[in-house]
């Protein structure tokens, strides 16, 4: 892994409380997974038919309020990984800890309670109940908790309002378009006010225009609430657009887990480099991630750390200074950027 500057998701703020922790998580599908995993530990080159090693030794820490995007092509194990985190599948090896609690040890009632209070999940093909109205679908998790009808309908109506589906309460899922169905899925997953929000390729089944619209909608929702989000996608552009951090998976392993800036600036492996090769880095990289400590006094107005190189293009080209000061969110100068480095990123040189 590259040792770049500290991931500067929210320049200045330093959140370090880990909500989800994975240690050496492995998932093997097959007739006797535990045995196969033990065999693999003894002989890593072993390949046995009938077994699929979907997730291999994944280590991951997800911070509170962070949005982690897990990106990988189909068969890379990303969907299995998110199901390990929510214990929709039982993990074969390692531990998954949620808020300090090892979820593998939870009893069934405790697990159900955890899901009822803390988790929400959105699915690729929506997973809506076809026989229930939109309103009843959104109220479903509340119904499972045993809330009375009036409360849960009131809450469900609020949720539908939030995703812009008011007036469709009595519709059935099959009467809605794909984008609308996914809005219902999102409303349902948010109904219990979860702390942890899983989204498993939520926009992959939608056509490109709707997908873009739903991404904007998602960013709007995300800005409104402070949730820990695990978002799965196979679309690298989507990942760059939405993520605080991206974990790129291949063959069940995490190839690299870092901020979008760092991934496009310093891809850790050739596999990651293949994804970043065609990306316009200037649109992704924020000036803040190029900052170096001050060595000499700087002059003039600083630029804000959270602006992309593309946004600053005009200024970068015309600025006479060789070192441009950069300010954090509080307006204090946190360092300077070498103009040449920024121009290299803008013009696609250097790497």
């Amino acid at each position: 892994m590259p040792v770049g500057p500290i991931p500067c998701l929210k320049w200045g703020s330093s959140v370090t409380e880990s909500v989800i922790t994975c240690r050496n998580v492995s998932k093997v599908f097959g007739p006797n997974p535990a045995r196969h995993l033990a065999d693999l530990r003894a002989n890593p080159a072993l390949s046995q038919s009938g077994y699929v090693h979907a997730v291999r030794d994944v280590n991951l820490d997800v911070q509170r309020g962070e949005m982690l995007v897990v990106m990988g092509l189909s068969g890379s194990g990303k969907s299995t990984l998110v199901r390990c985190l929510s214990r929709l599948v039982e993990i074969t090896g390692g531990t998954v800890t949620i808020e300090g609690q090892d979820i593998a040890t939870l009893s069934e009632p405790a697990l159900i309670d955890l899901r009822r209070r803390k988790m929400g999940m959105v699915f690729q093909s929506f997973g809506l109940l076809p026989n229930r109205t939109v309103l009843d679908n959104v109220a479903f998790p509340l119904e499972m908790r045993g809330q009375d009808r009036a409360t849960r309908y009131a809450r469900a109506r609020d949720m539908l309002d939030l995703v812009g589906l008011s007036g469709r309460e009595t519709y059935f899922p099959r009467e809605l378009s794909g984008g609308q169905q996914q809005r219902v899925g999102i409303a349902r997953s948010l109904a219990v006010e979860p702390d942890i929000w899983f989204l498993d390729e939520p926009f992959s089944a939608l056509d490109p225009l709707i997908r873009r619209e739903m991404q904007d909608e998602f960013l709007r929702l995300k800005a409104m609430m402070n949730k820990t989000i695990i978002f799965i996608t196979h679309d690298f552009d989507e990942a760059l657009r939405l993520a605080d951090r991206i974990a790129i998976m291949k063959d069940g392993r995490i190839e690299q887990c870092d901020t979008p800036d760092q991934i496009v600036l310093h891809p850790a492996t050739d596999y990651v480099a293949k994804f970043t090769a065609e990306i316009d880095r200037a649109r992704v990289v924020h000036i803040g991630s190029l900052v170096q400590p001050l060595t000499a006094p700087v002059t003039g107005d600083p630029v804000a750390a959270n602006r992309t190189i593309r946004e600053l293009a005009r200024q970068l080209v015309s600025d006479p200074r060789s070192h441009i000061p950069v300010a954090g969110p509080d307006g204090r100068v946190i360092g300077a950027v070498l103009r040449q480095t920024a121009l290299d990123v803008l013009l696609g040189d250097g790497h």
Partner: protein
């Protein structure tokens, strides 16, 4: 490929053995021509022993009696409501108008005007024809039996879905249960329960459970994984998941199961007349035996209308897709249909109160058209008598009798070798062993000759059915509208209880083997037509376009592209066709055959459980063997075609 070639060689060797056995028949010892005495096992006595133990020593009798008492009580309630039998709650009979109006409104609510007209019209017809009492006797059993079957099937289906080992045990039982002829069910029921409506209801319940189990299991397995995961993430417990996510999502399959239960119930209730079940079936049986054609046609029409109505209503319910309503603040507006229904019911009650003919149409007032039908039929029959007489003579002397004699002449060892050869050619050693085991058991049962007669009737009927059905299916599949129409006819024909098919053939041919074969041919041709049309219609259009662009003529297209692609589907039709003919041959026994069916009728009248079950299992084994062979063949074809 190498394996297939090896199979073919072995199969040819065994076939040569079979031919050899036939050729040297006169030299064979008697023990190779008919199963020798020492090979025949007293299966019937063993079964009787088990039943005696269950019945007397285990005290199962008290349990079945208790269950049948509950059923009887429910039957009395429905009988009182539907046709005014003098039992608690003594409210009935409900006037026929009320029931007709209810059926009408149910049809309207489920599908619209046309279904409303059909279902309402059916009950009006029944009332006007003076058949109300009989039809209600039949219906009262269905009303009690169907909910029992549905509940039982649902519970067993859920259990089979929960536990794989239970499913493994249940599967072969269901396979056998679904290939046992109707009569085989009746005999044990007669032993445990006796005869009459109660026994009829119970045999109907048992007979109609298997499809419900199958459909429940299928539906639960088909629920999308994401729906279940969504339920789990919503914090549903296992029970909540089952009752609020899994079962509702499997609604369509489960309701198709309900539809099948209702249709099976109707088919069985009509046949249960053989064990003293009153109603339409019993009347039809009496009238047919007395050769009163006009009246039997009327009852036949009633049964057909009832079957189609029940089928369409339950199917409309199953296939109904939910649709959002516009919630109106007015109670009256939201419950419009309910209010109309109540108003119409009140009207019908009032009419019945003031005019007795709206309570019940008596026989003498009925608009029976039996006399004109009789006269018309007489004319028609006289007109075509030369044709039917010639056909009857030709078929009996030149086809049926020679074939029957040939089948009976064959040494049983030759038959077994032939089956082994076919089995080996299709599925290797395993299939060959299965074929020999099934027919070996039949040989050991001691009913070889009777079984051969059944086999001969089925083979000739299926062959004739294919001769008619294949060209018809190919013709129908040539354009889409025609195909849709033919499929509708086939679907409708398949809802008729098998008994109905006997009416026209007895009219035309009288009571003999030709009538039986004719009935079976018609009954067995329906699935062949249906699946031929479906198979040909479902050939991927790209393939047809590719063939057209390669310059294929219509004939080349049919022979080289469409038929080979449709073959696996057509084989399903052939399979059903064989099953249907087996059932029909056995039912037709009461108009005079000398096969297993006749013996089964005897076993029924002497309540010989052992004999009845042995005969029933013999029929089931024939069906299961064909099923296995055709399934293996079709799987092989599918694999080759990559579908």
């Amino acid at each position: 490929m190498a394996a297939t070639a090896r199979h073919a060689t072995t199969a040819r060797l065994i076939l040569a053995l079979a031919v050899g056995l036939v050729l040297v028949k006169s030299l064979l010892p008697a023990g190779l021509i008919r199963p020798p005495e020492w090979l025949v096992m007293p299966f019937a006595d063993w079964i009787n022993g088990v039943f005696y133990f269950l019945q007397n020593d285990l005290g199962l009798m008290t349990l079945t009696r208790a269950f049948s008492d509950v059923v009887e009580w429910l039957l009395d309630v429905t009988a009182n409501l539907l046709y005014g039998k003098n039992r608690w709650p003594n409210l009935g009979p409900i006037p026929w108008g009320v029931i007709a109006v209810t059926a009408f409104m149910a049809g309207y609510a489920l599908k619209g005007w046309r279904l409303a007209a059909l279902s309402g019209g059916t009950f009006v017809w029944i009332a006007l024809m003076g058949q109300w009492q009989w039809a209600m006797e039949t219906l009262s059993v269905i009303v009690v039996a169907a909910p029992f079957s549905v509940t039982l099937g649902l519970v067993l289906g859920v259990l089979a879905w929960r536990s794989a080992s239970f499913e493994r045990v249940l599967n072969p039982i269901l396979n056998i249960a679904q290939s046992l002829p109707h009569f085989a069910y009746m005999i044990p029921v007669v032993v445990f329960i006796g005869v009459g409506p109660k026994a009829g209801a119970i045999v109907t319940i048992i007979f109609s459970v298997p499809p419900m189990i199958r459909m429940t299991l299928l539906g639960l397995k088909k629920v999308p994984e994401e729906v279940i995961e969504a339920g789990k993430m919503s914090g549903a417990t296992r029970w909540q998941l089952l009752t609020r996510a899994r079962i509702p999502t499997a609604r369509a399959e489960i309701l198709i199961g309900v539809n099948q239960v209702i249709m099976q119930c109707l088919a069985m209730v009509v046949l249960a007349s053989f064990i003293g079940m009153p109603g339409l079936g019993q009347k039809l049986l009496q009238l047919l035996q007395a050769l009163k054609i006009g009246l039997s046609v009327e009852i036949g029409v009633t049964i057909v209308l009832l079957a189609v109505t029940l089928d369409r209503l339950s199917k409309a319910w199953a296939l109904r897709l939910p649709e959002h309503g516009h919630p109106s603040p007015l109670w009256l507006q939201r419950h419009r249909l309910l209010v109309i229904w109540l108003a119409l019911c009140a009207l019908a009650f009032a009419l019945a109160h003031f005019f007795p003919c709206f309570l019940e149409v008596e026989r003498k007032q009925a608009l029976s058209v039996a006399k004109p039908i009789d006269a018309l039929m007489d004319q028609v029959i006289r007109l075509i008598a030369p044709v039917t007489a010639w056909l009857r003579w030709f078929l009996i002397t030149w086809v049926l009798i020679p074939m029957r004699d040939a089948y009976l002449w064959l040494p049983f060892t030759a038959v077994l070798s032939l089956l082994a050869a076919i089995g080996w050619a299709i599925g290797g050693l395993r299939s060959a062993a299965i074929c020999v085991a099934y027919f070996g058991l039949i040989a050991m049962s001691g009913w070889w000759d009777r079984a051969m007669i059944t086999v001969y009737m089925v083979t000739i009927s299926v062959a004739l059915a294919a001769l008619i059905g294949l060209p018809l299916g190919i013709w129908a599949a040539r354009n889409t509208t025609r195909a849709a129409r033919v499929l509708l006819v086939c679907d409708t024909a398949q809802t008729f209880p098998s008994f109905i098919y006997l009416i026209p053939v007895i009219m035309l041919f009288g009571v003999n083997d030709v009538a039986v074969v004719a009935a079976v041919v018609v009954f067995a041709a329906v699935p062949i037509v249906r699946y031929t049309v479906e198979g040909l219609q479902n050939v991927p259009p790209e393939l047809i376009e590719a063939a057209n662009m390669s310059g294929a003529t219509r004939r080349q297209l049919l022979w080289h592209v469409r038929l080979p692609m449709a073959l696996p589907t057509m084989l399903v039709g052939a399979n059903q066709s064989v099953m249907f003919s087996l059932f029909m041959v056995i039912i037709a026994a009461f108009i005079g055959t000398q096969d297993l069916g006749q013996e089964m009728q005897r076993a029924l009248s002497s309540t010989d459980v052992g004999k009845g079950l042995v005969l029933g299992l013999a029929v089931a084994f024939m069906g299961l063997m064909t099923d296995h062979l055709i399934l293996r063949w079709s799987e092989g074809r599918k694999r080759t075609l990559g579908i």
